[in-house]
């Protein structure tokens, strides 16, 4: 059995996607918590292109990009499948995976902005959430159908990071009755045993993201004050 090592960081939703996939499939792995402000030599060497977590190292061979890692995990450890069998259903799942990744900067722009720019970014994020609500999730319990799949893991950040980012940035994205399907999905997602056991500590997340926001808006706020 070849060694599996995961380089990650606790506040990273990307890292958690991989943790969840490995746990759901019962794959044993060594976890290395990276300090992203002081990255290890191993991380920089294993992911020279992006220099980011997560990185999966299987039998000494490194892989970066969480979505790429998820598909690799699915193909290497086929037990408890997280991807549909039918090619068309897979194409639909991959479409949403791609949507999630391509739109990520737009989803999170509200976090790094203030004032008018933040209002605009918040509006755009809500439109994207609306697309997920109506087209992505539709009538299904999970993105993956009756059971969670890779797409659910990829959107896992909506289940806990979105609310934390929103609190730190002073923005409410999922208003009370605005997104009933997504709200229900969040509850169901957090109840899945593997997910429930591994959700990151909320206090730690708040502290970390407060720090990140202060570095983003430090400049923006002083510019706003000056103009």
């Amino acid at each position: 059995m070849e060694e599996v090592k995961l380089l990650g960081a606790f506040p990273s939703p990307f890292t958690h996607r991989v943790i969840w996939a490995l746990k759901l499939k019962g794959v044993k792995y060594d976890y290395v918590e990276e300090n992203i402000f002081n990255k290890s030599h191993l991380l920089l060497q294993s992911n020279p292109v992006h220099q980011k977590v997560p990185v999966l190292i299987h039998g000494g061979k490194p892989l970066a990009e969480s979505i790429v890692i998820l598909e690799y995990i699915e193909e290497t450890w086929p037990q408890n499948p997280l991807f549909p069998h039918d090619p068309y259903e897979r194409a639909v799942a991959r479409f949403w995976l791609r949507f999630g990744e391509d739109k990520l900067p737009a989803f999170w722009a509200f976090f790094g902005t203030v004032g008018e720019e933040q209002e605009k970014a918040t509006k755009e994020a809500k439109e994207l959430l609306r697309i997920l609500e109506e087209h992505g999730l539709g009538e299904r319990k999970f993105f993956g159908g009756n059971e969670i799949g890779l797409t659910d893991l990829a959107f896992g950040w909506i289940a806990c990071w979105l609310e934390v980012l929103g609190e730190v940035a002073g923005v409410k994205l999922l208003e009370a009755d605005g997104f009933p399907r997504l709200q229900r999905w969040i509850e169901d997602f957090k109840e899945v045993p593997v997910i429930k056991e591994t959700l990151p500590d909320r206090k730690g997340m708040l502290a970390y993201f407060r720090y990140r926001r202060s570095t983003f808006i430090g400049e923006a706020a002083s510019y706003e004050a000056a103009s």
Binding site: L63, V68, Y72, A91, F95, E101, H135
Partner: protein, 236 residues
């Protein structure tokens, strides 16, 4: 002809994303119907088939639509099991291909065209800066690709091209038209010899050659885009 395997591709002649799908269908020998879309006046069918993005390409197989070029490529690979494979068998090698395809896709989507246009529109320091950005991205890619071509220059006998080849030639196959329209050298054999020789070799493969948009038409379009949409991406 029966309805069992009806394949329709909704596209636009200049779109690199559509070209990827065309090349893939050709090398796998899959018969298909092509529908040219006027992107300024999109058809009802297109909007129905791709309500989320409203873009080309869309592949419709037996009435079921698939959007996003890389998703379509993987679908074709998994559905038509006879014929040449475009992805490696080994999961790790496959993951590496997907990683680089994702890298090129991110760079192309975000900023490559914008950088090129701003380089074309600027001079002096601003021009240098914009070109530097483009070259840096190409260099990262060039370095990464040495892993795929340890012996240097790529050769493609028997039209044996794969996922990454298709992604690359769709974006850069018409670099001569891009270079003429923008007055810049983008794929320079001295700066990026591997990418240059790779793209040149790919352009000789019949399926790729046939799918190249007409040079002069492409030059005219890029010049038009440059004049009229300075900060828009080239995505259809």
């Amino acid at each position: 002809m029966g309805e069992e395997n009806k394949v329709t591709l909704y596209g636009m002649w200049a779109s690199p994303f559509v070209r990827r799908v065309e090349i893939t269908l050709k090398i796998k020998g899959i018969p298909y119907e092509y529908v040219e879309e006027d992107l300024r006046n999109k058809s009802q069918l297109l909007l129905q088939y791709n309500p989320v993005h409203k873009k080309v390409p869309v592949l419709v197989h037996n009435g079921k639509p698939i959007a996003e070029s890389l998703v379509i490529l993987e679908y074709i690979e998994e559905t038509w099991k006879n014929g040449p494979k475009i992805l490696p068998e080994d999961p790790y090698e496959r993951a590496k291909v997907r990683f680089w395809a994702s890298f090129i896709q991110q760079q192309a989507r975000q900023s490559l065209f914008d950088s090129l246009v701003s380089a074309a529109k600027s001079s002096g320091e601003a021009h240098e800066k914009a070109m530097k950005e483009v070259f840096e991205k190409l260099t990262v890619f060039e370095e990464g690709m040495k892993d795929f071509f340890p012996s240097g220059t790529p050769h493609f006998e028997d039209e044996n091209i794969g996922f990454l080849d298709i992604v690359l030639c769709s974006l850069f196959g018409h670099h001569k038209a891009q270079e003429e329209a923008l007055g810049l050298k983008i794929i320079d054999p001295e700066r990026h010899p591997l990418v240059y020789s790779w793209v040149t070799a790919l352009n000789e493969v019949p399926a790729v050659k046939e799918s190249l948009p007409p040079h002069d038409k492409m030059v005219a379009l890029i010049q038009f885009l440059r004049r009229n949409a300075p900060h828009r991406s080239s995505e259809a």
